[in-house]
């Protein structure tokens, strides 16, 4: 098998595993389909924006949950934002944690919230690593002469 086919196969297998393991859903596939020759980095860019946003929100929520009197409305607002953006890129696990997270906010349950925040952060790190691997493989594919449309 030549280099290109090998890489193509690796990318397909790896992507399939990310879906199978619940890291990504159909929305991520949708985003990949939006790439074209002039915007090959679209997914990478959106994903970067997501992680920047995610890290900021996690920091804010951690601070809010450390307060003497927790402003659960503020925490909930951050969770809502995170739920939205994770849904927009297809980050299933993070999105699902946010759903549970919101019920803890509504119940003003600090412990529950802290637990969810830890889970979110854990998944954030995992997903970031997985996607970096994916993007690295795609970059290798392109460097070896492959084109983005071939990956759709």
């Amino acid at each position: 098998m030549d280099v290109l086919s090998h890489l193509h196969r690796q990318i397909a297998d790896f992507t399939a595993s990310l879906h199978r393991e619940g890291f990504l859903d159909e929305q991520f596939t949708q985003l990949q389909k939006l790439r074209d020759e002039s915007t090959p980095d679209f997914v990478n860019e959106v994903v970067s924006l997501f992680f920047e946003d995610c890290e900021k929100l996690v920091t804010n929520m951690a601070r809010a949950l450390e307060s003497q009197t927790v402003d659960f409305k503020q925490v909930d607002s951050s969770v809502h934002q995170l739920k939205g953006s994770s849904s927009s890129i297809g980050a299933t696990k993070i999105k699902n944690i946010c759903i549970a997270f919101r019920t803890y906010c509504e119940a003003k349950n600090r412990e529950g919230c802290v637990r969810c925040l830890q889970e979110v952060d854990h998944e954030r790190v995992l997903l970031k690593n997985k996607l970096q691997t994916l993007f690295r493989l795609e970059q290798q594919f392109v460097t070896a002469g492959g084109s983005i449309p071939a990956l759709q």
Binding site: L31, T39, F50, D53, G84, S85, S88
Partner: protein, 197 residues
Amino acid sequence: MTAVGDVLRRGLAEDLGVPNGLEELHVLAVDDSLVDRKVIEQLLKISSCKVTAVESGTRALQYLGLDGEKSTAALNDLKINLIMTDYSMPGMSGYELLKKIKGSSAFREVPVVIMSSENILARINRCLEEGAEEFILKPVKLSDVKRLKDFIMRGEGEEKGKRRAPKRKLRDDVFTCDELTLESPTKFSAKRSTSLV
């Protein structure tokens, strides 16, 4: 409003802003989420639409010249074919923005679509009652944009047809105004199985 006679004399090629769909559709997208703005921008660009994306209702009103400030020269040429706005935004909500747009003489005819991650029937009803064309559940898909684009393109053609259909006096012939008016989709029920009356 020009007289029907004038309109008929000029013929169907009259430029009312979008000459028979040959120009790109111009969409104004409003969303406080940077991630969502980037996604909607790409969805629209891939669908050959021109996009202006802003982060708030206030910005949207500024762009449209509806914020009470003196309108700029550019506004006289501003053609917006569709406005897509998120519902939940800090400050002005998408619903409030919708009301302001529908309350303006300049842009009340522009279709406004509300996007939301929450499938709340009361919210959907409220928006549709206020004149929203459609309520779309996030995440927005390419098929949503394609459907909207088709609707707008058809609507632009049909709207012209509608305006040009001469309203005949009832005593002159068998046709009433209603029968002459081309059917066009009115308010869509919310997508994804939320059933409305």
